[in-house]
């Protein structure tokens, strides 16, 4: 039961990263690919109707984590207190930037929100990457099952780590590049004209960085978290996840060359999903590794009682099927390139 919920939570987080990842990435490149007001409206229109729904995956995943693994939720959220609060502030700024920008047309109003939208998206990408790296590297959990990390200590991988050290910063950098690529491929798919071309160029340029950092970080990760290697040796079938990532990253290059915008975006999805599932597979059964391995939280030590997990399975399945239905409907009705209407009243 615990393992099943481990997979379901991991799946929800993956869906969150695939979906919110492209609107975060679109935000990060907003100022680069769109120069005029009309171009910026194109970028905003490509994410405007969906960003809120995408972010619900984060909330739903958080809630699911809460009831399925209360001890993990408690330790993780209180230990990552500072970065989570900063993430919340950035999410607030980003949300209102998207929603408030188009209420007024003015030379001081829109540029402010464009800047905040872009800056907050960019920082969120870095923080999410660093957060994932913190989980992989392990945190200074104590015997009571809690920890608290300052933003940084000595930037080394010692006993008393901070949120930021050279490893987590490196992964934060990779996350930014990956989401920039992912977002650029989304914007390319949804837009026309100059924005479309600039996005294609960014995706293509960033691809090399993604490839390089992926290779470097993967090598380092085997050293930083020995569990990963152990798992792949014990269950070689798990190699399907990294292969998915490799196929995805190769696919992005291939489809970019062929100028198939849809397939390029889906290849990027495959890469992201492959990377995340590889990490999750590599950590199992750990849910939060400790710097001192005896204090690590595992699936069985962090999970809630079986009755609740069984009940949860019933309503969760039902609710997620409904959600998938809404999303299919929404994305279908938004399919194709965005069109900026000139005669629409403001919302």
């Amino acid at each position: 039961m615990g393992t099943l919920w481990f997979c379901l939570v991991a799946a929800m987080i993956t869906v969150y990263v695939l979906l919110d990842g492209f609107d975060l990435g679109a935000g990060a490149i907003h100022l680069l690919v769109a120069k005029t007001d009309e171009e910026r409206r194109q970028v905003l229109a490509s994410v405007g109707p969906v960003w809120d729904g995408n972010e619900v995956w984060l909330i739903a995943a958080g809630g699911t984590l809460y009831f399925a693994f209360p001890a993990l939720y408690a330790s993780g959220f209180s230990g990552f207190y500072l970065p989570l609060m900063i993430v919340l502030w950035l999410l607030i700024l980003r949300g209102i930037s998207i929603e408030f920008r188009n209420h007024i047309i003015s030379r001081v109003w829109d540029p402010l929100w464009d800047f905040l939208f872009s800056a907050s998206s960019l920082l969120l990408a870095v923080f999410f990457g660093a957060a994932l790296a913190n989980v992989v590297r392990g945190v200074p959990l104590d015997a009571g099952g809690y920890f608290f990390e300052p933003l940084w200590t000595d930037l080394r991988l010692g006993e008393q780590t901070g949120i930021l050290d050279w490893y987590t910063i490196l992964v934060g950098g990779l996350a930014l590049l990956v989401l920039v690529m992912h977002g650029a491929l989304w914007v390319q798919m949804k837009t026309t004209g100059a924005v479309n071309q600039r996005s294609a160029k960014i995706a293509s340029d960033v691809w090399w960085g993604v490839l390089l950092l992926t290779a470097v970080i993967t090598t380092i990760t085997f050293k930083v978290q020995p569990q990963v290697k152990e798992n792949f040796v014990r269950w070689p079938l798990g190699l399907v996840f990294p292969f998915l990532a490799i196929a995805g990253i190769a696919g992005v290059r291939f489809e970019l060359a062929k100028r198939d915008e849809r397939k390029a975006f889906f290849a990027s999805c495959a890469y992201l999903a492959g990377m995340l599932t590889s990490v999750v597979f590599g950590l199992y059964p750990l849910v939060l590794p400790a710097r001192n391995p005896i204090y690590s939280l595992t699936v069985s030590s962090a999970k809630a009682a079986d009755y609740g997990l069984k009940i949860g399975l019933v309503w969760w399945t039902f609710g997620i099927l409904l959600a998938v239905g809404y999303f299919t409907y929404t994305y279908r009705s938004l399919a194709g390139k965005v069109v900026i209407a000139k005669d629409q009243t403001h919302p």
Binding site: V56, A60, P70, L93, H103, G319, A323, F327
Partner: protein, 454 residues
Amino acid sequence: MEHALGVHRLHFAFTITFHYIFPQLTMGLALLIVYLKTKALRTNDEHYNRATRFWARIFGINFAVGVVTGIPMEFQFGTNWAAFSRAAGGVIGQTLAMEGVFSFFLESSFLGLLLFGEKKLGRIGHWWAAFLVWLGSWLSGYFIVATNAWMQYPTGHRVDSHGQIELANFWQLVLNKWVMWEYAHTMLGAVQTGCFVMAAVGAFYLLTKRHESYGRTFVKGGVLVGVVAAVLQLFPTGDEQGKLIADHQPVTLAAMEGLFESQKGAPVALIGQPDLQKRRLDNPIQIPNMLSFLTYREWRADVRGLDAFPQDQWPDMVPLLYFTYHVMVGLGTIFIAVMVLAAFMLWRGRLFTSRGMLWALMVCVPLPYIANTAGWMTAELGRQPWLIYGLMRTAHGVSPQVGVGNAWFTLIGFMGLYMVLGILWLFLVYREIEDGPEPDEVVHSEPAVAGAAD
């Protein structure tokens, strides 16, 4: 405040109080938007479609602020109240996760269609979008109130040998007498906020002689729905909540009423300041025997005062609790008076021309916000010193390793950010009201995010 506990409490209190400004309006307005949309469908009159669009725009702004201030609420259970989350996450995580899965997906998907999809969906489809947004927002309210209700009146759980609180009966968690009455009472409060806001905007238009046909629609809608909500708020929902508190949290009842001494024929205090040192109310004005009657339907019934309980069981902020409760009840009474009078004048056909009554409706607009906030403060302060009533003390629920300095750091951050957010929100809503329901004539704004759904 040198101790982390106090700062963590203020942290949650501040962020939730600010957050709840927005959902109370969106939950109330969602119902009124369905009302307007139903009128549009029945009469086939474009007037009601324009009225719906106007309120949907205001709804959209409030919803956006509600969403971004709501996300921190779910996180804070873990960040600031980790010990509580670890012990009880298996129970309250259920309702919180259900909120995400059942209501947020629904709401966020259909709000886009409500705002941008009118042409594409057609008349009936657009009514459904309005209905589903209402359903989503009210479901969300249900799961949150169910979470709170469990903390007030824990049921359907079991405590294992490690002190871990586990879910034992799902239906008891989501369907019990406490959650039913608390939900009804909370939703009526939200409906009243929606009604007063709609009626106030209508009164503003009538008094300033602009958009008068809309002004009449808004005043009428706000008053018709509002009078029902105002009455139901007191009876039966408020009354039943009071009885539940008398039965299950008797010490809270004594503190709310400022009743220091147990007595037969206990009075209700209308005015008076609790004096904790002398254990009495200063300059009291009381209705004799009334509390006994309201609680037990018997004029001479014995009501236990604070003296019947050891002091470590008392809510830790008795005077504040006393005042929030009295503010809530006092305002609720004023709402009934205003709404009943307005409804009577509407029936007699004099409401739209009565400047006095329109003024009253307009200036009342902040009051339901205050009443809703005071009501929640009553519930939360009244539960103290317990985090989960009878099971876990508030002091035992905080995150053990988040120190006072870090808690202040983030609280101050939220205060600054929310101040900016509040100013922007007032500014944008005021602009919508200025533009009115026929903004096509006003040219100062270009199209917004296009492409959405149409």
